[in-house]
Amino acid sequence: MSANAPAHERRVRKQPNRVTLWFAAAEGARAAVVSIRAHGFRSFLTALGIVIGVASVIAMVSIIQGLSFTIGEQFQGLGSNSVTVQSYTSLEHALQGRRSRLTQDDFDLIRFRVDGLESITPIMYIANGQSAVRYGSQTTVSQVLGTTYAFQNVGQYFAAQGRFLSDSDNDTRRRVAVIGEKVRDELSLPRDPLGEFILINGEWLKIIGLLEPKGEIFGQSQDNRVMIPYSTMASLEGNQSEPDIQVQLTMRDLGDLENIRATITRLLRAAHNLGKKDEDDFRVQTAAQLQDTFQSILNTVTVVMAGIVSISLLVGGIGIMNIMLVSVTERTREIGICKAIGAKRHHILLQFLLEALVLCLLGGLVGLGIGYGIGALAAALIPNFPAAHTPWWAVALALGFSVVVGVVFGLLPAVKAANLDPITSLRYE
């Protein structure tokens, strides 16, 4: 310090300017970290609510998104120009014991009277869809369905070995079957199962083809299937019975969808003698629609989960506010000191707000890591479950929410601190 110059002449003349706030913020952030570290365990407990909240959001979202991601991929394999017509029994009718059915006549109606179809095939499921299949001493339960050559196109099923069902198989009610890989493995059939015979419903069927593996949806194997000619299935069921069938078709032009849907609806309503006020007893659905339905279910689940989980963030926020209020009281004297040496209200406000913010953000980051880990672990542990997928928006949302919680719940304590009277707080013991 230079001697002899009067104090008022050698004063640092630097006036507060725009960068003041920036330096104060940097210093506040540093002080926040120091203070959080000084109360390590307390800070950890305080942020635990945020950690748990964010971890559950991320874990939940990543699992659900992983699921929806896979479903999207699988539906794409179905082909977007394929349409399914199936019977629909309303709850009211089901309670009255009435069951809606689609019959062979309905199929013929659609097949001959609807324009713009590329291919069409009936599908008949055995009794309840599942049936025992026997080979030698081995028995397994598979989905058995009767269909025609066209199903190859409609359902995107192709033979890896041998051939798919042909029209002549259907015309002559041949006792033949195309099986999925899982069926082969379950029955301990040879690697090349062609020519072997399996027993279904008391009928011996010759294996003529092995399907390409399709993988799984929701842990349900798509390869545990046996397909036999439609007419063979009809005779297995007994030619007198009129079982409920499904109709699958593909359109030549996707633009025809609404036309085709309207025509089918009109034809079937007339055939089923439905009055003007009666509900449709069938459904016409596209693969895209099915996918949309699944997606919207998953989205709803996501939103509901996010809602539930944000309550835990709210609780975490209240914890933060509580501890910040305690912290303000504890540091009343420090606040008084800072005010005495020139801190303005916004400096104090900023410091406490930053502390709450840093606390929440740290909690959010830790929660992000844990949630990511839980999601990946859960997806890995559940058999046949698709890999977890954490979308960037979930990360942004979780961190954004942490910041919002920090600001919202840090504000009240920070305002309380900023409003303290310097003289009283300097005297505070």
Partner: protein, 228 residues
Amino acid sequence: MPVIELSQISKHYEMGQQLIKAVDNLDLTIDYNEYVVFIGSSGSGKSTLMNIIGCLDTPTSGRYVLAERDVSGMSENELADIRNQEIGFIFQSFNLLPRASALRNVMQPLIYRGLSLGERRDEAERVLARVGLADRGDHLPNQLSGGQRQRVAIARALVTNPSILLADEPTGNLDSQTSIEILALFDELHADGQTIIVVTHEPDVAQHGERVVRLKDGRVVEDRPNER
């Protein structure tokens, strides 16, 4: 040239039905480079007067001009600026920030000035060296002795180059040997041209001032140069 001009300053509190006149119609002028000691018993109004001079408190009525600026009607934030630029506080209980090192404590007032980290550090190191603590910058307050803490507090008060150094019972928490050292430091600073105001009730401390102002019931009852 006056640094402080108090005219007709009053500070009245209402306590229930009773009106308390902590400071009552007080006139006082202090020049640059003066070393003034306020002395008085408890309840004499010296703390209230110090708070008003230190711009921590505002008078109920009267006019207060500090370093050519009328601070009587200033807002809270304007007063914070004045405290930062014109006043260096020294307290009886040191009032250091407990989790900040000595150096950080001294740097603290400069944050509110918009000085960069480097500038802040340079200034703080210079002033710490001035009070004889150049090698203690990274110590936390609880790692320092009472005398060293008060030196840090003095460095913090000096780092802004204030118009006045305002010390409230600066030796109240110190043993006699350390008190002598601190008061010697005040003498040095005064010799360097620093305006110093000390509030005390100890006659020994009052001995160091050039001018003694005795307060009683919120009024000046004695204002005399000190014969040293």
